[in-house]
Subunit: 210 residues, 3 copies
């Protein structure tokens, strides 16, 4: 599932950076909810890996990638430890976290969509799995913490929408063999950009009329 | 998984009608909760396809049927669009929705149970998977919307019970090669009838004593 | 997945005892929440089998063991019937239930971890799957009942921690071919002991500082 021309080592580092940032968002929510160590570690792990694991289970690619590379499970434990000893300090770095989170969003939707296409799925299911990869962990995080999923709320800024656009771009590039390290990086950057601008300017998805 | 004698085209149309009605119930709940477009689309998709996808994942039949036929994903998007532009109008048609929902309930429990038997499961697991196919999407819908699952509530009229009876009927018919288009239609009609009568007369399942 | 030297009949009885106790805890929560028969049966089944089914789906071992042996589904129905006719009586036996629950915890984490190792998973993923086997059903139970998962709460006594320690012990014993009926029984007993002592003396896991 590596893109032609993208160094596997670089891809792994980017992947793990995304996992760390998603894990931090889960661990932070656990700390805010006053969960104990178990709850914080569970939210960190579910947020970071829940989306990709759901994708792999639906594709029948089991055990999921997150259970075959032990680093994927160790990183959420690192995030748990960071939040246990200094969740106030982690809170103060919420701006950098937003930036990394937007990078994770772009990366995960591109990787997830490409993997689904690689398994022979059609365009629409591939977009769905790309979005689930990027957004599913957060939905699981909020459900376990007994919150309404943040991406469903009318006051949430655009998050699943840029992931959907990124997934659609991958679906368009794929049949023309035009998905490579360069074009993938452009899509990730575009998702990143839309997400960061949405957060900055408060762009929101429409709700039902009336 | 087609029944002998049932036109596959007819089965597909019935299937998609069930998906549309379940998707409308998810999208409506999303609109009532004031979710944004993402939330409404997610609830529509999860309600319509969550039960069948859970069944297929448990059977090891991956990717699930709902990811192999793109219409299954497009129909919930149609339901989302309908609710976005006119959820008040959709509300006004709640009586026809009840009727279609009862048809979906009957259809999904029969199809789900038959598929489980076809995969070699025993009678009790096949009933469970039939009920999950019919009711699972609604449980996921309510959990994501942070409601107690409607089918668990003491004030809910019979819903999982007619699905269970339909699944049991399929289990009884199966070993005698007596499940065909006619007998399946009778079971679907019986589930439909019990469900509609329960809604009309307020029949409820018992709770714990004391 | 039987341990060398452990009578399969004995293992099955222990397994079913664990399923019964977990099912009772689910059914009791359903009765306390005033759920109807469907809700009580669903919580009983999800609590008893949800952890093991999640493990098997992640391992790709489908249909899950709980769908291949019909007794695993019948036992939660027995628990449902017990709670429907006498949930006050079941409440009065909460002390024996605590004891059996702690046995189930020990047994399920050992069995789950060993199964994951047997499928070739690494140490950290195997520990995760062992803990999911033991604790996952309870997390699903609480989420469906719209509670914060009990194991996440700061006021919960140690539960996932002893399961984690038991899973780590299995991971250490495994490569040396030192996991047999005797050593497994010792690990189960240790998990049981830590759990019961935690409940007795109110031991709790730490929360985030500050």
């Amino acid at each position: 599932m590596t893109f032609a021309g993208l160094d596997p080592m670089v891809e792994r580092v980017l992947d793990l950076a995304g996992v760390l940032v998603f894990a931090l968002s889960g661990a932070q929510l656990g700390a805010q909810k006053r969960f104990d160590t178990v709850g914080i570690a569970a939210l960190a792990t579910a947020t970071a890996l829940g989306g990709g694991m759901t994708r792999d289970v639906l594709l029948g690619d089991t055990p999921p990638a997150a259970l075959r590379d032990q680093m994927f499970l160790i990183v959420p434990l690192v995030a748990t430890a960071m939040v246990l000893v200094g969740h106030r300090a982690v809170e103060r770095i919420s701006r950098p976290v937003l930036v990394f989170d937007a990078m994770g969003l772009g990366l995960f939707c591109v990787v997830g969509t490409a993997k689904a296409l690689d398994h022979g799925l059609g365009a629409v299911p591939a977009v769905l799995l790309g979005v689930i990869t990027a957004v599913g962990g957060g939905v699981i995080r909020d459900t376990l913490a007994r919150d309404v999923p943040w991406v469903f709320r009318p006051d949430s800024t655009l998050y699943a929408i840029p992931a959907t656009l990124g997934a659609v771009a991958v679906v368009v590039l794929w049949p023309n063999d035009a998905l490579n390290a360069t074009s993938a990086a452009v899509v990730v950057a575009a998702v990143f950009g839309i997400r960061v601008l949405s957060a900055r300017f408060g762009w929101k998805a429409p709700t039902a009329r009336g």
